[in-house]
């Protein structure tokens, strides 16, 4: 399956990466290893996770709630789901919900995720910047990422606490810190691992891993407000 590495191929790779660094390209100093100047994998295209309305089903149990987190989960009601009010889906749920696909547009400095869900998007900055010091919470948070071989490592903070982590009603606070790994397994599969850290809601960080598969479709239109007639009829469940 894999080609034996021939001496001539190795030499060619070394020469090429030395050339790139001499020309000021490549982004990173060549440290003598033929791996250092390798280009990141190409994630461009349309992708989707499987339908995942409840993260506890993937985890196998409820997440490790604090007392506060457990009390919030006991009171959750669909009427409070931001999606029922046509509010944004949030950075992780947008990927993991799996009801609508997303498109990745990848450039050297920006990894953009375009969600079919309500035409929303995430921008993951891959130009080496840090999170801003004064950060206002936003619907999709502030994301910075860097490459490690075949994996994009992403750090996200500043997510508006009105977003939900899933349809089952797992919520979070403004202290949410998301750590994600997007690993290219093969041309049609990304292994996505997301770690949720939120000391107000959870006693410790917890992670789930889901496969993201390439879709043979274009992303479609979706206007949540168009022909919206049902919100007035929503009632809070009796619990």
């Amino acid at each position: 399956m894999s080609n034996p590495i021939r001496p001539t191929n190795l030499c060619a790779a070394c020469v090429f990466s030395l050339l790139l660094s001499a020309l000021g390209c490549g982004g990173r100093a060549v440290s003598g290893s033929s791996q250092a100047a390798a280009a990141p994998p190409d994630f461009n295209g349309v992708w989707s996770a499987p339908f995942t309305p409840d993260l506890s089903k993937v985890l196998g149990h409820q997440p490790p709630f604090t007392a506060y987190g457990a009390a919030r989960f006991a009171k959750e009601d669909e009427i409070d789901d931001p999606l029922t009010k046509c509010l944004p889906i949030g950075p992780a749920r947008g990927i993991q919900a799996g009801i609508m696909p997303f498109q990745v547009v990848q450039t050297p400095g920006v990894f953009a995720i375009l969600f079919e869900n309500q035409h929303t998007f995430r921008i993951i900055h891959t130009d080496g910047r840090s999170h801003p010091k004064d950060l206002d919470a936003t619907w999709f948070g502030d994301s910075i990422g860097h490459w490690e071989g075949d994996t994009l490592i992403v750090d996200t903070v500043g997510v508006d606490d009105r977003t939900w982590l899933d349809t089952a009603g797992h919520e979070h606070s403004d202290q949410l810190h998301l750590a994600e790994r997007f690993q290219k397994v093969d041309n049609n599969t990304i292994k996505w691992t997301v770690t949720f850290e939120d000391p107000k809601f959870f006693t410790e960080p917890w992670s789930v891993t889901l496969p993201i598969t390439r879709q043979n479709t274009e992303i479609m239109s979706y206007s949540c407000e168009e022909n919206e007639k049902d919100r007035a009829h929503l009632r809070r469940s009796k619990k």
Partner: protein
């Protein structure tokens, strides 16, 4: 195949086999999910749209009276992974639909399965990745 990749695929298969309820859908309180029924009728409209694909059909009872049914289901993005497409049915097709009906008795339901004119069945479970 590398061991790590094989382990990952095994884990994925296990996750998908857990039987996550296919109709764990927000807003299904309006439907009687314990009593699915089957209706058979002629498609009058097929709306392949977000957030919910809709099928409208005329169902004739044994007295010849026609009921106009409105059936909704998941989004196109989810249905394509279950083998659907925007061309699976068109107005004029005779189909059977297994659905959970509205609790208030109106001819409205949430689709679980559709049988096409050629006998092919379309459900909601995602097919093999």
């Amino acid at each position: 195949m590398k061991t790590s990749r094989l382990n990952f695929l095994i884990a994925v298969t296990a996750i998908l086999a857990f039987g996550i309820p296919v109709w764990a859908h927000h807003g299904n309180a309006a439907y009687d999910d314990k009593n699915p029924i089957t209706i058979k009728g002629t498609v009058t409209e097929f709306a392949w749209v977000n957030p919910h694909v809709q099928i409208y059909l005329d169902v004739k009872d044994d007295k010849g009276k026609v009921a106009h049914w409105s059936v909704e289901t998941y989004s196109p993005g989810k249905l394509v992974r279950a083998g659907w497409s925007k061309d699976v049915v068109k107005p004029g097709d005779l189909v059977s639909i297994i659905l959970i009906p509205a609790r208030n008795g109106s001819p409205v339901g949430f689709l679980h399965k559709m049988v096409l004119p050629n006998g092919k069945e379309l459900a909601l479970q995602e097919l093999d990745i």
